[in-house]
Symmetry: none
Subunit: 194 residues, 4 copies
DNA sequence: AATGAATGAGTTTTCATTCAT
DNA sequence: GATGAATGAAAACTCATTCAT
């Protein structure tokens, strides 16, 4: 790891801490540079602006998140098993990485994130495609409710993300035994009842 | 409607517009007063500070939201009917009032809102109690999954709020025919499968 | 006393209280009108501006002060007796009227007061003339130090005003037995030593 | 002198000028920064707030003042000589440094200064102790009037400070030959008459 | 390349004054 | 005459960004 990468990484890590704690607007760049152990000007050698730093941080975290979710993904296993695998990975990643979760939550609720998601919808990546295939297959098998694919994604991910949000806010406690039940809730939300 | 209520209402409405659009921090009070058609100082005749304005706006909207949800609520109808009634009202309110939805989403994700929700958990109001009774009854009848009440609330409300969030972001379109299906998704997320 | 005089007097009294407590700049006119029990606009029916209110209040208090000092003044008694009489009256007035003292102290240290005193020097009133005669007589009799009259006034009044200032600030306590000693200090400051 | 000291000193000097002229409340920070030739934000790099700037400026000036007063002080010379030395130094310092005098006058009449003086009374520094010893010694020798030490300080300093105040206001002119007479007035104010 | 002092536009808030009622 | 709601200019202070070193 080069010196350059070190500084960049230090800035991103400090930014993550502080954004997760105080939000984008409650986080002066001076605080970030201080926590990162670099000069205030140094941020601007690695990032064009604070906004750019936020977007780059998102890219970084989004990559890690996808890697975590798809770490042990296998297309060939049965549908339900694939679903459970993805959602459990997602849930565990957020529980284990609260800073990342808070940042991403914030990001996707901000103008930055809304634009990003719109762009991604137009131009989906490999992982999104994988997700889409899963939901498409389920729909074709009549396993899911008769709703558009994007709606099914929202509905199935909602239970988990709300549970995590309240867990991180200290309003509920997700214990280990609850993990499968939460994943089940995600499936049940979109599964067709017989 | 008196003159006094007019100004206050104009400020609250302008603030709602602008907060929903730009977030709390992206909304200078000068923009709010301009949009409300009042002087910059006038905001401070009705609200002690910008923070106070945010909190008062929340109170206002929270009251309206609760009124909308419980508009036609009847304790005596069957459990599932009560559930469907509440969740459909909630969904329709947010679809019909996107500014309110965005504001509340933001509020409950901010330090203000997290504190508020903690306080409410300690000291629940009448409506919360009503909600709690519903979930308690369902659990006693073994209708819901074996999870703490708060977790069930998070899980059941998540599908809808995520669907609405994406709808308001323009990523999916909630059509009228989907409303019962979304409500069903909320129920299914927490219902016990036989 | 007419209604009109009542309101005016109420405003002046409230202003005195608040100026003495908080200083000119720490005293919003709204606070003054509230304490006076009148509308915020009413002040501007009796006074052209806040500055004007301050100047008028000064005039009022200055009149009262002079009346108090000269209440029992008699030109025909011996010099020293006249001096003691004036200075004791002054000291007692300030001890008994701390608000007035604080206001006047402030006033004479402000741009308003400095201009006022310059004007008065150019164009002395009856009481100033009386004072001047006293000091003039003393100098002619070689009773006072060889200094200009105004300087003698400053030197002789300084001990008392500093003692009162510190008394009102709570740093020293002027007890009754000290009054003659303080007056004596004023005399001694300017008296020629033999 | 480093660059950093330059800016700080420029701000303090500009602030002194403007405070002395217009008072604390009549001196916007924007005026200070403009006069100092720095940006508006720069003040806040060196001082936490305007209040802090005022307090720091006081500390600076108070230090200089004490240094000037005690520049050639010697404990071993006779009492009267020590007194004359201190008071003449004080007088000359104020005549030579009118801005400093006006600032300090204002400061000690403001809430800042009153608190400061109370604190100093509780917890006197080295110079105050020196002053106290002088007055104590004088009282034990029956040289001074039978009054508490603090009162003697007020009475003895009053003549000079009033004379200086009126001198700086342009109402009297202190000429060089008057200096010993003014110092004598200070002594006479508190000295016991035989 | 890295720094961090300096900047000034932009933000919240106050308050003397006005004017419609 | 009296009111007090409304005003907006002006104040203190913040912080993303620049640039000389």
């Amino acid at each position: 790891m080069s010196k350059i990468a070190d500084k960049r990484a230090a800035i991103l890590s400090a930014a993550l801490d502080i954004f997760a704690e105080n939000g984008f607007h409650g986080s002066p760049t001076s605080l970030i540079s201080e926590k990162a152990g670099v000069g205030t000007g140094t941020i601007y050698r690695y990032f064009q602006s604070k906004d750019d730093l936020i977007r780059e941080l998102h890219l970084e975290l989004d990559g890690k998140l996808q890697a975590a979710i798809f770490a042990d993904y296998r297309e060939e296993v049965p549908l339900r098993q694939r679903f459970d695998n993805l959602y459990e990975n997602l849930l565990r990643y957020f529980i284990d990485n609260p800073r990342e979760c808070r940042f991403l939550e914030q990001f996707y609720n901000s103008p930055y994130g809304i634009a990003k998601r719109r762009a991604r919808k137009e131009n989906p990546g490999e992982k999104e495609a994988c997700f889409a295939r899963l939901f498409d297959e389920a729909r074709q098998r009549q396993a899911f409710k008769d709703l558009p694919e994007e709606m099914l994604v929202s509905l199935s991910i909602g239970p988990m993300l709300y549970a995590v949000r309240d867990h991180l806010a200290g309003l509920v406690a997700i214990e280990d035994r609850m993990v499968p039940l939460i994943v089940e809730a995600c499936w049940d939300a979109v599964a067709r009842r017989d």
